[in-house]
């Protein structure tokens, strides 16, 4: 009985290992097949195109992909900082591990994906995506990842032409209520400091004068 249980457990471990080996990658470098072609609406894949600006929380873009060689089970979409925007920013560093890759993670929202894995079995497709509200105002590319039915990654692609990166601006961070409130307190604190000083000097002088009499 014990021998059988041990055999079964060993077989189970071997099966897991086999599944890992045949089903897909955890690292970008393991995905050696052809890249998925990725494009974004309004951003032409030609040199010299002007970057398109989107607004976090207000704009949407259409992500298109094609060139998958194997029918996926799911597609996931990431928003990745352009390479120049990772310089001197260790929290945006590229990591080969797909799930840990900080270059494609938005820290303000702690979002690992722009679009969480959704079901798609076609070799090409498109999806309209709303830019999340708290996306940092900088430049990005879009990355599409294909996953098999075990959840492992099998193929990926980036909209990598630097002239055609996406520029995202943020919403109005300083509404009038904030400006008014902080502006009032700014002015009030200066006036208050002066008033307290004058009052205290007068009070101390009075006490000293009373003693001297």
């Amino acid at each position: 009985m014990q021998f059988t249980a041990t055999k079964l457990f060993t077989a189970f471990l071997a099966l897991i290992a086999l599944m890992q080996f045949v089903s897909g990658a955890a690292l970008y470098s393991e995905m050696t097949g052809a890249k998925i072609a990725v494009s974004v609406s309004d951003v032409a894949l030609t040199d010299g195109c002007a970057p398109t600006t989107y607004t976090g929380g207000a704009s949407s873009l259409t992500v298109k992909w094609s060139g998958l060689t194997v029918a996926p089970a799911k597609i996931a979409i990431k928003l990745c900082y352009t390479k120049d925007q990772t310089v001197d920013r260790a929290w945006r560093k590229f990591k080969d591990n797909i799930k840990d890759n900080k270059q494609c993670k938005q820290t303000a929202d702690t979002a690992a994906f722009l679009v969480e894995p959704f079901e798609s079995t076609d070799l090409s497709g498109e999806k309209e995506v709303v830019i999340p509200m708290n996306t940092a105002p900088t430049t990005y590319t879009v990355q599409v990842l294909a996953m098999d039915d075990t959840g492992a990654f099998i193929q990926y692609g980036d909209s990598l032409l630097s002239e055609c990166h996406i520029k995202i601006d943020t919403y109005d961070r300083l509404p009038m209520t904030l400006q008014g409130t902080m502006g009032f307190f700014c002015a009030f604190s200066l006036i208050f400091a002066g008033a307290v000083w004058v009052y205290d000097v007068k009070k101390q002088n009075t006490i000293a004068a009373q003693w001297a009499q």
């Binding site: 001197d88 820290t107 509200m133 307190f185």
Partner: protein, 494 residues
């Protein structure tokens, strides 16, 4: 007509010949000693909360303003460097005008920077606001000076340490309070993170206003009255700014302590700036959790600094000033060792936190032990000495951040390692601190030298003839307690 003599008020607690309290009761609000104690630590606490309010929100702020690591490093540097000059000036200010006004007014004039922070949209603006808010750290100098004039040698170590420790607590409290405030503002702004962190700054700003007001109206400079009355009555010498600065700067012991304090308090400031984002980036923990874990560092101030002060006072009772010096050297050397251990634990969160807590305890105990020694370096220029040494803390942090935590080429854990090695090396400067009448770590006292000689050496013969040294005579008598036990005469007051 004979000049009117100043009659000091009667105090309701046991006091010595200088009317300084002979014990500390943290539950008492007795005026003026204990009320001033509470006002000083609360004021200092508020300045710490505001100075480090940005740190736990950095992962959001750096995205909003699209900052780089050098930008963040420079802003962190600005928050603790600007106050170097401010602390030096505060030292002179408290000697001339008094700690109550010094502490109260610095809180009030730095409040506008808290309210201005929401308006920043660039890295430069962020730096300027952090610099302005950081000026509030000069409250430390006023706090320590205040405790040194309110509490006598029997308890000055624990009074200084507890007030400063509870003040430093602000650096830990802010690490978990500001994320909570931010979370509340996030809900209120319908998940607009880049607006929420700006609203969060209203909390430290209002704290500055309330704290400043409390200090001004509830505190009192000296046991017998405020400075204006003391100057008018002649009970307190009216000092010259240039003169007191010269007295302080000519004392090499002050400079030794400037360096050593730079690597205990300076290290604490450095860690307050970097630890939350280090935990977030190294271990991928959630922002709020990183804040809570990071707060463990500063929260040790609740008791650890007092432990250092208590240890210093105990060592003084057993061995005199030499005990205080050994106490400081031991705590600070162990601090360096713990810092290295924390760096080595970079792959395991639990071990990192455990080492961080031990490291923090030693940092704060070192700070407490330091200010058990400072009141004795110079009596006449106590404010200046407190100011320079306090500024040394900030200078130490500036050096640490600039050398180890600004360049992207040095990993943060390596920076922490290098910092630990530097701590151990700089702490060796405790060894040459020698008081002729009390000795040093390795040298005994000079039998023929008394406290009067050392303490009154800050006065010229002419000034002594004019009676300007008379107010410090009681301090000289009380300072006999710092002699080795075999040399105490028993004539020290209580």
């Amino acid at each position: 007509m004979a000049p009117k003599e100043f009659e000091p008020p009667v105090h309701t607690i046991p006091v010595d010949s200088e009317n300084k309290a002979m014990s500390l009761n943290i539950f008492s609000f007795q005026r003026p000693h204990h009320m001033s104690f509470h006002m000083s630590w609360i004021g200092f606490f508020i300045s710490f909360v505001s100075t480090f309010a940005a740190a736990p929100m950095v992962p959001v702020i750096r995205e909003d303003l699209n900052m780089t690591k050098p930008d963040l490093g420079n802003a962190a540097l600005a928050s603790i460097t600007g106050t170097i000059i401010c602390r030096v000036l505060m030292g002179t200010f408290v000697d001339l005008v008094g700690p109550r006004i010094g502490l109260g007014m610095i809180l009030l004039v730095t409040a506008p920077f808290c309210f201005a922070m929401p308006f920043v949209s660039t890295a430069s603006g962020f730096l300027i606001c952090r610099l302005g808010i950081g000026l509030g750290l000069a409250t430390f100098v006023a706090c320590q000076f205040w405790m040194s004039v309110m509490f006598n040698g029997k308890c000055v170590g624990i009074a200084n340490a507890t007030a400063a420790g509870w003040g430093n607590l602000g650096g830990g409290v802010t690490q978990f309070v500001m994320p909570l405030v931010y979370a509340g503002m996030l809900k209120a702004t319908e998940e607009r993170a880049f607006t929420a962190w700006r609203w969060a700054y209203i909390v430290p700003g209002l704290a500055h206003l309330l704290g400043g007001m409390g200090v001004m109206f509830l505190g009192q400079d000296l046991p017998d009255g405020n400075y204006k009355l003391m100057h008018t009555s002649g009970a307190l010498e009216k000092k010259s700014a240039f003169q007191v600065n010269m007295i302080g700067m000519k004392n090499y012991r002050m400079w030794c302590m400037v360096a050593t304090y730079g690597f205990c308090f300076g290290v604490e400031l450095t860690m307050n700036n970097i630890v939350a984002s280090y935990l977030y980036d190294q271990f991928d923990v959630d922002l709020a959790i990183a804040g809570v874990l990071a707060s463990c560092y500063g929260l040790m101030n609740l008791f650890a600094r007092s432990v250092g002060g208590l240890a210093s006072d105990w060592a003084s009772r057993r061995f005199g000033m030499r005990g205080r010096l050994w106490c400081l050297w031991l705590w600070q050397t162990i601090e360096g060792v713990m810092c290295i251990f924390m760096a080595l634990a970079k792959d395991d969160l639990a071990t990192t936190i455990a080492m961080m807590v031990l490291f923090s305890i030693c940092v704060q105990a070192s700070e407490g032990a330091s200010y058990g020694i400072v009141p004795y370096i110079t009596r006449r220029a106590l404010g200046v000495a407190s100011g320079f040494i306090g500024a040394g803390g900030n200078a130490g942090s500036t050096i640490c951040i600039a050398l180890f935590f600004t360049s992207d080429s040095i990993e943060t854990y390596d920076g922490i390692m290098y910092m630990g090695i530097t701590i151990i090396a700089v702490t060796l400067l405790v060894i040459p601190i020698h008081f002729p009448m009390w000795g040093s770590m390795f040298l005994g006292p000079n039998d023929s030298t008394e406290e009067d000689y050392y303490i009154k050496n800050d006065f010229s013969a002419e000034e002594i003839k004019q009676g300007l040294a008379a107010p410090v005579q009681k301090f000289c008598n009380n300072a006999h307690m710092e002699r080795p036990p075999s040399k105490r005469t028993g004539s020290e007051s209580a």
